[in-house]
Amino acid sequence: MKVLKKKLYEDNKYEYMVQQESNLETAIEMGLTQEEFNFICKKIKKTPNKTELGIFSAMFSEHCSYKSSKKWLKTLPTQAPHVIQGPGENAGVIDIGDNLAAVFKIESHNHPSFIEPYQGSATGVGGILRDVFTMGARPIALLNAIRFGSPSKPLTKHLLSGVVKGIGGYGNCIGIPTVGGETNFDKSYDGNILVNAMAVGIANKDKIFYSAATGANNPVIYVGAKTGRDGIHGATMASAEFTESSSEKRPTVQVGDPFTGKLLLEACLELMNTDAVLSIQDMGAAGLTSSSVEMASKGSLGMFLDLDLVPTREEQMTSYEIMLSESQERMLMILKPGSEEKAKQIFDKWDLDFAVIGKVTETGRLILTKNGSEACNIPISPLVENAPEYDRPYEIIKNEKFIDLNKNIVNQTINEILVQMFRNPNLASKKWIWEQYDCSVMGDTILSSGQSDAAIVRIHGSDKDDSLGKGLAITTDCTPRYVKANPIEGGMQAVCEAARNIASSGAKPLAITNNLNFGNPEKKEIMGEIVGSIKGISSAAAFLNTPIVSGNVSLYNETNGNGILPTPVIGMVGIIENIENSLEINAKEGNTLLVLGQSEDFIEGWIGSSIYQEIIHDEFDGAPPPINLQNEKAIIDILLNLNEQKLLSAAHDISDGGLLPNVCEMLFRNNLGLDLNLPKKLVNKSNKDILLHSWCFGEDQGRIIVATNELNKVKSILEKQEIKFFVLGTVNSSSNLNIKSVTTISINDIKYIYENSLSSIMS
């Protein structure tokens, strides 16, 4: 294969050569196993030629076939009355009222971003946007969940700066605001960063477009950018573990072109406004191969394509290359016969290629011709329905060790710990990142990065004279160290934190998209992480009535055998009926802060797998904080209830770092202060007392801090509903957070550290 590849650019007889029969060796080089190769030969009743084998290899790759995860993905809860389209399409669709639908999905571009951070992440954004507008939705928001190795490493800085530039480069140029995300650092990502991009769009409920092919003889149309030799076999690369030699795969990076992406977006939406489009699918991973096969397979039909009609950018491209190219900004459509001319005019206006390249058939086969002769003739069903599905052995490993506080000796004060926490880029402000993203283009961003726990984007045009309109709330969340310690609890936690974040912005959680990033599933403990997380996500999503409507799986995130922390990212969307009720995290002077979900009796905080523990012991250990779904639901419900009565003026859920850092975050923006109440049992403890520390920094779940000017009303409602709460104190203008007889923390000093840590690392 290598020899052939070299010839490919020199020898135009290559087309003839690729049509030669392949053998097991070629199959293995393409990433297939012996059993898979034998299976293919049996199913198609011949030995495939190289184009055919390449198509099988792409479709059978982990990336396209989900062969390791499918069995478990089927167990996710996907139904609810508000779900219009669950997993299986380009993106999930939910009903948001007023005849509108929200369309959203998250997708990973981990491997390409490690190889070429700018282009890898840019094309990740481009890809997820196409998934959303393919469904007929105008994208209104982007988020990114990104993870890097140790911040002190020069490689980390290079990757982070490239990824952020790439995400911004695409999103800013195409003109869709990037409104939020999350950023983590951990050495397990040193050789394997994670770049997950989420896009949300809005469509008319009765104008959603799907990918299933319809109607034999209907024309198949290629639109967008020309096909080049970029990213050939990217899908198989995304499914392979990194080794030293993977640098050889480098020339396969694709280059994003947000300008063409923008034209494609506008042209497609314009065309979708007519009645010409019957079905449509973007060319993502495995390009023309997966788009044509999936469209035909979903419609239980066949497809014929004349590859000589595909617009190409380079000369003498072979059928193999055309089918497997991952050139960006392309779409495949099936049009109503007779509407080709009208459609072409629209694409001409936007200076985009438009070509009728084939037709839908009833054969159930994928038939391709090149230079007038047949280049491929295979049945479609084995490519999809018979794609391998593994039931890999797994073992769910849980760290159940309880961290005994009494055995912990502390020699640092609360102030010292707080300083270290905010110096840690995991907790420091991500402003250096989000200022590189255009967060306000499109004019509907109400709250974005750093302003609230979830971003709020107004539904365009919903503001009328009598109302400021309604909005979507969006967040991404995952705490990988919890998932590592206990995949089931960690999976639940990710869903609960996302729901808490949505609620803390004033919105009602609706549905989930998820990105499952893990190591090598052939190892049973990694498979255990996958299975465990899915179980956790399922139980929490079912309980909170936030079904999973779309998602993506990225496996083999390993370098030389070292896997990443298990990272099942949850992207959640919620709705706020009146954006006037959106909640920021910033408290105002005179507000009283209280914690929902925590009582006066609560004194011993959960230290296992916390950031506090990392600072004191330099590593994580012990069981993660347990999740109680009833509690989670109760505080979300009560928060929404209080907010509807306009009793709240800010909210922030307690996550990484525990209570104290999260209180500080609520005071930063307006440089405010607070005299912090302590539970009676903690009064008069010393600045280094472990119990006091655990109260300040424990990461117990199911808690949200709210700010109110109506303490008595709030209290009586909470008491009536039997919700635990604890009053933290009243916000003043002093800029000091005072813990009586223990310490005083200067909010200005801490804020300076919080705001500048990341930028000083990066400069």
């Binding site: 280059v255 072109d257 960006q328 200076d351």
Partner: protein, 82 residues
């Protein structure tokens, strides 16, 4: 001594900028040009004069910072001081 590093995109790597420029050129009536690619130049002024050393150093600079060797090629040109 002045060194010029010419950096170009590898063959096969998409150059959307080149394409956009070509479109504009042909809209302006320049139709004789059928392919446009773009590249970068980095011009380095060295305080030392040892040509061999300069070239070795420039190579190192290219590999470690100046060039994205994943998608770019480069060549190094020595220029006489003017």
């Amino acid at each position: 001594m002045r060194v010029i590093v010419n950096i170009s995109l590898k063959e096969g790597v998409l150059d959307p900028q080149g394409q956009a420029i070509q479109n504009s050129l042909s809209n302006l009536g320049f139709n004789n040009c059928n392919n446009v690619r773009t590249g970068k130049q980095i011009i380095l002024d060295f305080q030392i004069d040892d040509k061999e050393q300069i070239i070795t150093e420039t190579k190192k600079m290219c590999e470690s910072l100046l060039v994205n060797t994943v998608i770019e090629n480069y060549d190094i040109q020595l220029e006489k001081e003017t």
